[in-house]
């Protein structure tokens, strides 16, 4: 790229930035991988500060890094668990993606998933055992989808009509959902312990093992959403609204309609994730059923550049980190909060690396050299 500093002869700054016109995929991946490696390096340093067993025996640093592999791939059960947790996280991230593509910042994935779980469990609680199992599962699915859709569409209606800030609205809806679940737990479990024991009915059939069916459902959803976003009229409208609302209005797209329709879809898919959690895994509900995954999914979707296929990779990365860090807390006897610290650090580096992919740094006196800034 030609440098744009011709006019600034008198006092040239040490460096200046310009936006890259394009970057080869190989180079962008090299930058990303470097960032992740640097992140791991910093994780090792922080681990030295926090983990006493590592301070006593620095030789175990190899074990520290090996734990990331052991945590996700150590045994076949761990591997299946890893695949399933990746699938569930991916499902929520997929749900958020259509909204993000039209620049509707749906931070409410947590709440939409939680009401999905609530809908499914409510049907299970009241009808379980009274109607055939197959019908029960279908009704649970419908309830979960409806609840998720309702939770998603409420902020969208206000956004479409009065341009109410959707980031803050959806964020608040998460907590309303949490306390709604708390309310139902008090109603359902009058003893006061507020923990609902595992329900006997409404369990998804197993396909070989407990994990495979969920993985296949989410895989199908990934492909479906990829087609929906890239090859259909709806998907095109979403992209246009996201790029420029004025252009959308000019070509006759009804922006409000697209916003509402897309948020119904987004909420519904979160509801589906809730259904997978309720019927496929837990068969009970707590206020923590979504477990912060609604927030993690925002990062998964963004890291995958809102591309459903790339998001398979990013959600897998997050789950490798999560399970690896959980393994570390077990092996080194540290607080169970360790995964958050490690995921946070790696995310900082990946987030930061995007800058070196999108922008180019020109130093004074040097001819512009791409990728130079990657050494941060």
């Amino acid at each position: 790229m030609a440098s744009v500093k011709r006019h600034a002869e008198a006092r040239e700054p040490l460096m200046h930035l310009s936006k890259r016109a394009s970057i080869s995929p190989v180079r962008s991946w090299i930058i990303r991988i470097c960032a992740v490696l640097l992140g791991f390096l910093l994780c090792g340093l922080i681990a030295f500060l926090l983990i006493e067993k590592l301070q006593q025996n620095p030789g175990r640093i190899g074990d520290f890094y090996y734990a990331f592999i052991k945590g996700a791939f150590g045994t076949s059960r761990k591997f299946w668990k890893f695949l399933r947790s990746t699938a569930v996280l991916l499902c929520i991230a997929l749900a958020l993606t259509p909204a993000f593509r039209m620049r509707f910042w749906n931070t409410g994935g947590e709440g939409q998933t939680l009401v999905g779980v609530l809908g499914a469990i409510a049907v299970d609680f009241y009808l379980g055992g009274k109607i055939p199992e197959g019908l029960l599962l279908v009704l649970m699915l419908l309830a979960a989808l409806c609840c998720g859709a309702v939770w998603g569409v409420i902020p969208a209606l206000f956004k479409a009509k009065w341009n109410t800030n959707e980031t803050l609205f959806t964020l608040m809806m998460n907590y309303v959902a949490t306390y709604l679940v708390a309310y139902f737990l008090v109603v359902w479990v009058p003893s006061g312990s507020s923990s609902l024991s595992k329900l006997q009915h409404g369990k998804l059939p197993t396909l070989g093992n407990d994990y495979l069916l969920i993985i296949l459902i989410v895989l199908a959803l990934t492909i479906g959403l990829h087609i929906y976003l890239n090859y259909t009229k709806h998907g095109y409208e979403i992209s246009v609204v996201g790029e420029s609302i004025r252009t959308a209005q000019y070509v006759g797209i009804k922006v409000g309609k697209v916003v509402i329709r897309t948020m119904i879809l987004s909420g519904m898919l979160c509801g589906l994730a809730g259904y997978l959690i309720a019927a496929g895994m837990d068969q009970t509900i707590t206020t923590e059923s979504a477990g912060g995954q609604g927030f993690t999914a925002i990062m998964v979707s963004w890291l995958g550049k809102f591309n459903p296929l790339a998001m398979i990779l990013t959600s897998a990365l997050i789950q490798v980190l999560n399970q690896g860090a959980a393994q570390i807390s077990q092996d080194f006897d540290v607080s169970g909060a360790m995964p958050s610290v490690i995921v946070g650090i790696i995310l900082f580096f990946i987030i930061g690396s995007e800058f070196f992919i999108n922008y180019q740094i020109h130093f004074r006196g040097h001819s512009a050299k791409a990728g130079k800034g990657a050494l941060k």
Binding site: V4, L17, S18, K19, L50, W105, T107, F158, W162, N163, T164, N165, T167, L168, F169, L171, M172, M173, Y175, V176, Y179, L180, A182, Y183, V186, V187, G192, G292, F295, T296, I298, M299, W302, L303, V334, S335, G336, A337, M338, P339, S340, V341, V343, G344, I345, L347, F348, I351, G352, E354, F355, N358, Y359
Partner: protein, 317 residues
């Protein structure tokens, strides 16, 4: 003391946590940055202060020095988080929502790891009394009103005065509304964004410190801190981006949040267990209503800063 008065004072003391959190967030948002990292920053602020107190809590330093060193420790870690956030979003122009959420993940996790290693008999038992000066020896709810409570009120008023009555504040608001215009009149956009975010983070961090060391003053306090970070972000909307209004808002929020546990003490109100979660939902519902009403009325001074959430790159059109 009268039961209602007691409750009002308790709500105020509880609310100071939110005054810190939302005053910090308002400063950041006025610079155009929606910082969803506030819960993490508040946690780190709490951890920083406790970390220092853990080292000096039993030493023979004069009490006021211990108080000040604790506050400095809290400020230091919180501002460090603010630096991470502003480096990523201002200099590297990263997506603010994603950066904020990553910071919350990181901060909450690190705080839990740090706090699980500290000894509450050192960082809490002695220093608690120093921070609760001058009411440390009272038996009623007035005891939780220490110096950090009064500092919260002063900071909120001061922040409001700076934002709306000084040139610095005018410049800061210009940066948040339209950075390109601010840049054109010669305001150093990067400097303002960094300063507002870091100072805001420091203030928010004190909120976490206050909650752990003074209001709750218990060993388990840190486990419930994150939720109040999110509530602080809600309070920003409730207060319509005006720091002094956070004082009133925080009392309302404190009232709404603790009314569920208080109401069982009132003989003539009969409340079932199931009502408690519904009452706790109220602060969030009220916030949503404020958000909706202010967007319907669409008065310009009650809106979020115009370029909230957008990165600024000078060469972009």
């Amino acid at each position: 003391m009268n039961i209602w008065l007691n409750f009002l004072i308790d709500s105020m003391a509880f609310g100071a946590t939110f005054i810190y959190g939302s005053t910090g967030e308002i400063l950041t948002e006025k610079a155009g940055h929606l910082n969803l990292g506030i819960p993490g920053i508040m946690c780190m602020g709490g951890a920083g202060g406790c970390l220092v107190l853990n080292a000096i809590g039993r030493s023979s330093l004069p009490p006021f020095l211990i108080v000040i060193l604790g506050i400095l420790g809290s400020l230091a870690l919180a501002m460090l988080c603010g630096m991470i956030y502003s480096f990523l979003t201002v200099t590297l122009r990263a997506n603010q929502n994603v950066t904020g959420l990553a910071l919350t993940t990181f901060g909450v996790g690190l705080m839990k790891v740090i706090m699980s290693k500290l000894d509450a008999t050192v960082y809490l038992v002695g220093p608690k009394q120093m921070y609760r000066w001058p009411f440390a020896n009272r038996q009623d709810s007035l005891q939780a009103m220490g110096i950090l409570f009064f500092a919260a009120v002063i900071i909120a008023v001061l922040a409001g005065w700076i934002l709306f009555r000084t040139k610095t504040g005018l410049h800061l608001r210009a940066v948040g509304e339209n950075p390109a215009t601010a840049d054109a009149v010669g305001i150093n956009v990067t400097k303002y964004k960094y300063a507002a975010t870091c100072i805001g983070s420091g203030i928010a961090g004190l909120g976490g410190f206050y909650y752990i060391i003074d209001y709750m003053a218990s060993q388990e306090a840190y486990l419930s801190l994150e939720a109040f970070g999110w509530l602080s972000i809600a309070l920003v909307i409730f207060a319509l981006w005006r720091p002094p209004l956070t004082i009133i808002g925080s009392v309302v929020f404190g009232f709404l949040f603790s009314v569920s546990s208080f109401i069982t003490n009132v003989p003539w109100i009969n409340v079932t267990m199931a009502m408690k979660p519904i009452l706790k939902m109220l602060p969030y519902v009220v916030t949503i209503l404020v958000l909706i009403v202010s967007s319907i009325r669409n008065k310009r001074e009650n809106q979020p800063p115009a370029s909230l959430g957008l990165s600024y790159f000078r060469e972009e059109r």
